[in-house]
């Protein structure tokens, strides 16, 4: 879809995405010439349709994670369905450890994905680690990688709860 600013005859650019609640998704578009903004609000049915297709309105900021659709949408997922490649540890130190690929948070690119994550380590604040620990294990590895990718894409060195909030809004991560 394209949104045309009739005043300027210019295609409006995607600016922001939010999931404010009630199954609504808000996608903000702005005219690059006059700055006029508009918000597209989808109803729950439309939000479901987009979600079920595994696509993001406005494009993806970070690559799709393996089995992201199933993990994001399956109700009652088994807690131990996924394990990290290394023997799982439950300490905060492990959760906050470097996001190397072997710890399940790496910045690799899935086949067919066009993203090129920026190199460099991403650290997690203790508060962010604690919050990550509350994420259900069914999606925790995936969520950790998504936040790490987001931090790299935005040149953020340390992931804090504020960064997680911002990423959650920007990426439309309902329930994460």
């Amino acid at each position: 879809m394209k949104f045309l600013c009739l005043t300027c005859d210019t295609v409006m650019a995607f600016a922001e995405r939010q999931i404010p609640g009630d199954g609504t998704m808000a996608a903000v578009f702005a005219c690059p010439d006059c700055g006029r903004e508009m918000a597209m609000l989808t109803n729950p049915m439309e939000t479901q349709l987009v979600s079920s297709m595994g696509v993001k309105v406005g494009g993806r900021e970070v690559p799709a994670q393996p089995m992201e659709g199933v993990r994001s949408s399956l109700a009652g997922g088994r807690e131990d369905a996924f394990v990290e490649p290394k023997p799982p540890q439950t300490t905060a130190a492990h959760l906050a450890s470097s996001d190397s690929p072997s710890s399940g948070t790496g910045g690799g690119v899935s086949p067919g994905q066009g993203h090129t994550p920026r190199p460099g380590p991403v650290e997690w604040s203790p508060e962010a680690v604690e919050r990550l620990g509350r994420v259900p294990r069914f999606v925790r590895g995936m969520v950790k990688r998504i936040y790490s990718e987001y931090a790299r894409e935005n040149a953020i060195r340390t992931i804090t709860p504020d960064v997680m909030d911002t990423a959650r809004t920007d990426l439309g991560l309902e329930g994460m």
Binding site: F14, G23, L49, G54, L74, F82, G112
Partner: protein, 304 residues
């Protein structure tokens, strides 16, 4: 009245990139399947014909013959293959380039909704983002199947068997994701009801121009453990009639043996338990036909 330009007349790359994202999903799927020799759909169109047991035992037979085999349990609402291959409670390894599936009997990697759901009796339900029900269930199930195929680190395989649930719409879903599907095995029984229902699946596969379609006649005869002889399990022979009218060959006739169901349901494909028996012989013939049609010589390829 104002005249608006059409979508394509507006010269601007779309910011939402929805189409591009869908194409990227398909590209990722195609990339993953490049390492698979032959995708084989095991379908039926009708439930209760023993399709999943056929899938598990065919996979075990192929693995025993040295082929590299993976199994996708596309029956999202009634999954059983993780159980049949003995890995019901196993975990998937969460890697960024794809989740690594557990290896079941005979070292066969398998992905199944069984591995992802909590309690064994949990029905398949999707979280909804605010509405009462997940309206786009079918779309979500297509996404799940796509991810089973594309987001699992299958590695190099000679065969990837896809156990397709009953219903012609489910076959269509697989054909949408794997448009060049090379082989479909259609499981039937000698019953007249099975013949008429399975015929619809054959029609769909023919219209989709799947190159190789063959029948597997399951439960053709009953092997009496008392006298050791074979007796008909159903009146008539619907499978033969179906083969005659559809011009589709029967590659294997599998006799009914209660031990096949009991052992396979317990995570031990029967062909591994009694490799010299009549059931195993039928699956050897099925594997031979498959290998003869889509020649995959594991010895000519590097070991995984």
């Amino acid at each position: 009245m104002r005249r608006f330009r059409t979508y394509n007349e507006v010269d601007h790359s779309t910011e939402s990139e929805l189409l591009e994202q869908v194409l990227e999903q398909r590209s990722k799927l195609a990339h993953r399947l490049e390492a698979v020799g032959t995708v084989v759909a095991v379908a039926s169109g009708k439930g209760g014909v023993g399709k999943s047991a056929v899938t598990a035992n065919l996979a075990a037979t192929l693995a025993q013959k040295g082929h590299r085999v993976g199994v996708v349990d596309a029956d999202l609402n009634g999954p059983s293959l993780a159980q049949m291959l003995g890995v019901r409670n196993a975990s998937l390894v969460d890697q960024e380039d794809g989740v690594v599936p557990p290896k079941g009997a005979a070292g066969i990697p398998v992905i199944s909704m069984e591995l992802l759901q909590g309690a064994h009796d949990t029905p398949l339900r999707w979280r909804d983002p605010g509405a009462d029900t997940f309206i786009w269930q079918s779309t979500m199930e297509t996404t799940a199947l796509r991810e089973f195929l594309s987001d699992v680190a299958w590695g190099e395989l000679d065969y990837l068997l896809v156990d397709v649930p009953p219903g012609t719409d489910k076959i269509a879903r697989l054909l949408e994701l794997v448009p060049g599907l090379p082989v479909a095995l259609v499981v039937t029984t000698p019953s007249d009801m099975s013949r008429s229902v399975v015929a619809r699946s054959l029609r769909m596969l023919a219209e989709a121009e799947v190159p190789v379609v063959a029948l597997v006649a399951n439960m053709t005869e009953y092997h009496c453990p008392g006298c050791g002889e074979l007796h008909p399990l159903f009146p008539g022979d619907g499978a033969q009639e179906l083969a005659r009218t559809s011009q589709i060959p029967i590659w294997a006739s599998v006799p009914f043996d209660p031990r096949l169901a009991r052992e396979t349901d317990s995570g031990r494909p029967w062909v591994l338990e009694e490799p010299e028996g009549q059931v195993a012989g039928a699956f050897l013939e099925l594997a031979r036909q498959l290998a003869a049609t889509h020649i995959v010589d594991p010895s000519s390829q590097e070991a995984p």
